[in-house]
């Protein structure tokens, strides 16, 4: 039996069922419950539109809520986090629990909105917590290549000074210090700009399944802080 004839047989069978147990039976029979009535064979297509709309709405909302509040998987670009993250082809797993700097610690790798361009997000490591004193980076002053190097009007070098990180702020730097635009140029960053913490990363340039059993170069991105004082 071909598919078409199968379909036709089903439909005619359904119709026959309609005729025997449907309206005719309802007119004469008494006490027939709602549940016994067969469903309409051909629902009008328009009646499905609201249902499709709400399904799409629910799916988009769930995706948005997950992305802003729970978890995000997103591409990263740029040399500033080498060797932790590659300059291209890397995707990071971001936990949104840590948004607004909740529970972040020294040494965590975070995603934050750029303070001077909030449409762009950057990935940096926290190297100063509120109350810490941070030496900006006098090594940049020695190289004369640093583009934003300038002396204060009273002769102070902004790269060779200690900054106290204020309440509710963090000091962030890239892992690749010579090729990173970070707190050394835009100063401390309010924790409200932190959108999440990087917990793991995948490398899309790696094979799907390598010899060590890693899927797409999966590795965890952890806290690298070593407390030298202890």
């Amino acid at each position: 039996m071909s598919f078409v004839s199968k379909l036709a047989g089903h439909v005619t069978g359904q119709r026959r069922l309609d005729l025997t147990t449907g309206p005719g039976a309802d007119q004469t029979g008494q006490g027939r419950s709602e549940a016994d009535r067969p469903p309409p064979a051909f629902p009008p297509p328009m009646s499905r539109l609201p249902s499709a709309f709400t399904t799409v709405l629910k799916c988009v909302s769930l995706l948005h809520v997950t992305h802003t509040r729970v978890y995000e998987f997103t591409e990263t670009k740029g040399e500033s986090m080498l060797p932790t993250l590659n300059s291209h082809g890397d995707y990071v797993h971001v936990s949104k629990w840590y948004r607004n700097g909740r529970d972040v610690q020294m040494g965590d790798c975070v995603v934050l909105q750029k303070p001077n361009d909030s449409n762009r997000r950057v990935c940096k490591r926290i190297t100063g917590m509120p109350g810490d004193y941070v030496l900006v980076d006098p090594s940049l002053a020695e190289e004369d290549t640093y583009p934003l190097h300038y002396k204060d009007t009273n002769g102070a070098d902004p790269l060779d000074m200690y900054i106290k990180v204020p309440r509710g702020h963090v000091w962030v730097t890239g892992d690749n210090l010579p090729y990173s635009l970070d707190s050394r140029t835009y100063n401390v960053v309010p924790m409200g700009l932190i959108t999440g913490k990087v917990v793991a990363a995948n490398d899309m340039n790696k094979p799907l399944w390598d010899e060590e059993g890693k899927i797409l170069g999966f590795r965890k991105v952890g806290n690298t802080f070593v407390d030298a004082v202890q």
């Binding site: 909302s61 997950t66 750029k114 909030s118 309440r167 509710g168 702020h169």
Partner: protein, 159 residues
């Protein structure tokens, strides 16, 4: 049978939770606390105004808008201020030299002179913005109030 119907209706209700959460990222109704926006909002002691906020694309804004933003010193705290100057505007400060607002930053002040705002902590990054106040929804006596009627001091230095 009844249990199955209950589970289905529960599932139906739960499936709407993300929609409700996402809707709060589009529009939001919020209570205003404190006196920093007096006389525009919370006009007298004991008043609590509720306002309708546009949360979608908070970065589209202009001078004179009343905005909600995260406090730069405590991200859990939300402040309500008026945008007084945009990036690259030069701002008159109460004491000291005029300041030029850096790129990606805003100068925000409360309408009340006794307000902790950019006069105290300087320009804020516009990534801290949460939403823009559209109108007052409660109390009814303030429906249709012009939010731009009292806009505090004029801060931008004209060139």
């Amino acid at each position: 049978m009844v249990v199955r119907v209950r589970v289905r209706s529960l599932f139906w209700a739960v499936s709407w939770i993300p929609v409700a959460l996402a809707a709060t990222d589009v529009v939001h109704v919020s209570r205003i606390e404190g006196s920093s926006m007096r006389p525009t909002l919370n006009s007298s002691d004991g008043d609590t105004d509720w306002v309708l906020l546009k949360m979608l694309w908070p970065r589209a804004r202009a001078v004179g808008d009343i905005v909600l933003l995260k406090s730069p010193f405590d991200p859990a705290k939300v402040m309500c201020k008026r945008v007084k100057a945009l990036a690259s505007d030069t701002v008159r400060v109460p004491d000291g030299e005029p300041i030029t607002v850096p790129r990606g930053h805003l100068w925000v002040e409360g309408d009340n002179v006794h307000s902790i705002d950019s006069r105290k902590f300087g320009p804020v990054s516009d990534g801290l913005l949460l939403g823009k106040v559209l109108c007052v929804v409660w109390p009814p006596s303030k429906w249709g109030v012009d939010l731009h009627r009292y806009s505090g001091r004029n801060v931008v230095v004209e060139e």
